[in-house]
Amino acid sequence: MELSLNLVWFILLGVLLTGYAILDGFDLGVGILHPLAKTDTERRIFMNSIGPLWDGNEVWLVTFGGALFAAFPEAYATAFSSFYLAFMLLLFALIFRAVSMEFRSKLEVPGWRRFWDYSFFVASAVATLLFGVAVGNAMQGLAIGADREYVGSFFDLLRPYPLLVGALAVALFAMHGSIYLYLKTEGELQERIHGWMWRTFGAFMALYMLVTIVTLITVPNATKNFETLPISWVVVLLNVLAIANIPRAIYLGKPGYAFVSSCCTIAALNFLFGVALFPNLLVSSLSPDWSLTIYNAASSQKTLGIMLIIAIIGMPFVLAYTSVIYWVFRGKVQIGKFSY
């Protein structure tokens, strides 16, 4: 396998998606756990734990979308037009998530706050579920015809396997978010979150094993690339170790390690997803010839080259100020004058 620009962009898209899943993963997780907060102060602590960060995190998704459009326009066009309703649903979820944080604390009226609390929770959960469903559908393949258009309906997307992967995503982000919240809180609230870490880990573990078994049985193509890329087995092993380290770190009282392990778990799962998909972007369940691959759906070599230069110039800046921002907002959440 030579290192073509197409492959480089497949990998870079994977990096963007992994960055997104790790970063927005914890703030989506905080949203999923939001109803468990008991008092108004606790809800504000939850929202302020992600307040300065969620917007930057979401930019990873926006950039992923832009890069997919630029690098593989055919796949972008097919996916986005085929899953019209699913994407509209995702858009509404993301809109509500953004504005519920912005508006919630602007008024002290209980009804107002309750409304935005619910919308924050529902939007976070729906967005996460949809991401998982998308991954599940990508794994299982879609009814894409020779004209590169999807011939199924919205409800064909909600088959059992994608929904199962969607549930896994919800459990994964809830776990990721609970570890993050544990790091950002103190006192009695932190003690309660300690219990949530165990429970969300349990849910994640159960679904992870179930999805693995179902994948091995019903998605035969998922492991075909492991023959040409044996190093993938190392990632499988690392993934298992990372997952195993989460309860160990929680038990030892080292939540920082648990968070890093959770990040590694997400990265490993993303990597395995990419390996399973390669070289396809969208698998046609009707005929393998009709699948959209990183070759037949790509932009010209010149564009891929230009974009690589843009990425090489831009990414160091992005990483530098992302680090600075996370450093500035390190430590426990303090509710102050500028909080939500």
């Binding site: 979308g65 019209y84 974009m307």
Partner: protein, 484 residues
């Protein structure tokens, strides 16, 4: 008009882009003013400037959140509603969009966190740096979006090739794409439009405070700063608009003809008239009840009153833009532009005379004048986009061939209905929160306690109808009045 997928998709795009464009120009304009007020604070250490910056930051933050939430819709929509377009332009359009993500969004959203939440966490210099970066990021964003859009207006640096199930444009030169014939003129005009909007927004709030005798001292400073920016931007916008129109005459003659309601190409030596006002009638190919200056259009475009300008009769009728909509949006924008120049120059004159802030009627005009730049910004885009029709990429791809063939009209109609409900809700919430923030004003001045200036507190007390108030009492009083 038949409500098919094409019509619905066009309506949805118009709706979502118009809604989105309520927010970015304001953040771009406010960003510049915040850099000014915070820079002043760093130099003078005057707490009034700090309070002003913090006040503007709160308005900026809620507007920015709306811009992000509505902006992600735009990116998705290319794929969801315009998949044929996306396949056609992806190779060219995509790199500009990717550049926007990498160079603008990360910068803006990252430093926004410091700007909004970082007052107590970073040094004043670092905070000022963040403000500058956010302002820069918002402009970078405009650069790449205008570049991408301008390529649709005046395509350059590409070739057309067969690919996949149809044709597409492939890039041949990145710099020709970026510096396509219209991009720099259009970028200048878009940024100036944003500066005008931002400055009129700030002047509107300031004038309101001055009239209500609240926060008078900081309001006067804020007004003066914004007036400076607004005057310069309004005058420059007229020049930039002129040069842009000259470019349009050269590169998109059918659009210019629609701008000006020029149905018939004048004979050699006659020159084209410029309509000040009028009512174009596309059916009968004439402008009704128009007031026109003969030869002025020719003079503006070519500097020669006798040289003819191409009229719509040079183009087959099925390649005409909708003339009336283009004509009205363009003309109202231009008239508003004249109004901005007149009103800012008048304010400058009164300021020089020293009577500006006592001229109550003018302050009232400024309170409501904010509507003007909003309409002008919207109409500017409308003129540019409607004037390009029936092409989505001028001369290359028709709008009617660009939409997603597989999306059922009923699904688009459903999403439009939801967009209307959600956007209306968000719009009123935004106005409500904005009003809330404006009623509160630069509250840090009150919190500053001992550092406060007597003049301001007397004014605040007077507004509240009481003799003496402490800072917290003023705050309570403001809250009470809001409840009423």
């Amino acid at each position: 008009m038949e409500l098919d997928a094409l019509t619905l998709s066009r309506f949805q795009f118009a709706l979502t882009v118009a809604f989105h464009y309520l927010f970015p120009p304001l953040t771009i304009g406010l960003g510049v003013i915040m850099v000014y007020t915070e820079g002043k604070f760093l130099r003078t250490k005057d707490p009034q400037y700090e309070a002003l910056t913090r006040f503007l930051t709160r308005i900026f933050a809620v507007t920015f959140a709306m811009g992000v939430a509505s902006g992600i819709v735009m990116e998705f929509q290319f794929g969801t509603n315009w998949s044929t377009y996306s396949r056609y332009v992806g190779d060219v359009f995509g790199s500009a969009l990717a550049a926007e993500g990498i160079f603008a969004f990360f910068l803006e959203s990252g430093f926004l966190a410091v700007l909004v939440f970082g007052w107590d966490r970073v040094s004043p210099k670092m905070h000022f740096f963040s403000t500058c970066m956010v302002s820069l990021g918002s402009m970078f964003s405009a650069i790449w979006i205008v570049v991408a859009n301008s390529w649709q207006q005046t395509p350059a640096g590409h070739k057309i090739v067969e690919f996949g199930t149809g044709q597409r444009a492939e890039i041949t030169s990145f710099w020709e794409l970026v510096f396509n014939p219209s991009s720099m003129h259009r970028l200048g005009h878009v940024l100036l439009g944003a500066f005008i909007l931002g400055s009129f927004f700030v002047m509107s709030i300031s004038a309101y405070y001055i009239l209500k005798k609240r926060f008078e001292e900081p309001a006067k400073r804020m007004f003066s700063a914004a007036l400076g920016l607004g005057t310069v931007a309004a005058i420059l916008a007229a020049f930039s608009g002129h040069f842009q129109a000259a470019t349009v005459a050269e590169t998109q003659p059918s659009k210019l003809a629609a701008f000006e309601g020029l149905f018939h190409t004048p004979k050699e030596g006659e020159g084209a008239p410029l309509y000040i006002i009028g009512f174009p009638d596309q059916e009968n190919r004439t402008v009704n009840a128009g007031i026109a200056v003969p030869g002025l259009l020719s003079w503006l475009v070519y500097g020669d009153m006798g040289r003819p300008v191409a009229g719509l009769d040079q183009f087959p009728p099925d390649e005409w833009p909708p003339v009336a909509l283009t004509f009205y949006s363009y003309h109202i924008m231009v008239l508003l532009g004249v109004f901005f120049i007149v009103i800012t120059l008048l304010a400058q004159f009164l300021r020089w005379r020293g009577t500006l802030f006592q001229t109550r009627w003018l302050m009232w005009v400024f309170v409501f004048a904010i509507v003007g730049p909003y309409i002008a910004n919207q109409l500017g885009w409308m003129a540019a986009e409607v004037g390009r029709q029936p092409w989505v990429v001028y001369g290359l791809l028709k709008t009617a061939d660009a939409f997603s063939p597989t999306v059922p009209a009923a699904q688009i109609a459903t999403s439009i209905a939801l967009f209307i409900v959600i956007y209306s809700l968000l719009f009123f919430l935004w106005l409500y929160v904005l009003n809330n923030k404006i009623q509160q004003g630069p509250v840090e001045l009150e919190a500053a306690g001992a550092k406060r200036e007597v003049g301001f507190f007397e004014a605040a007390a007077e507004a509240a109808g009481k003799e003496h108030l402490t800072g917290s009492e003023v705050t309570e009083d403001v809250a009470e009045r809001e409840e009423e």
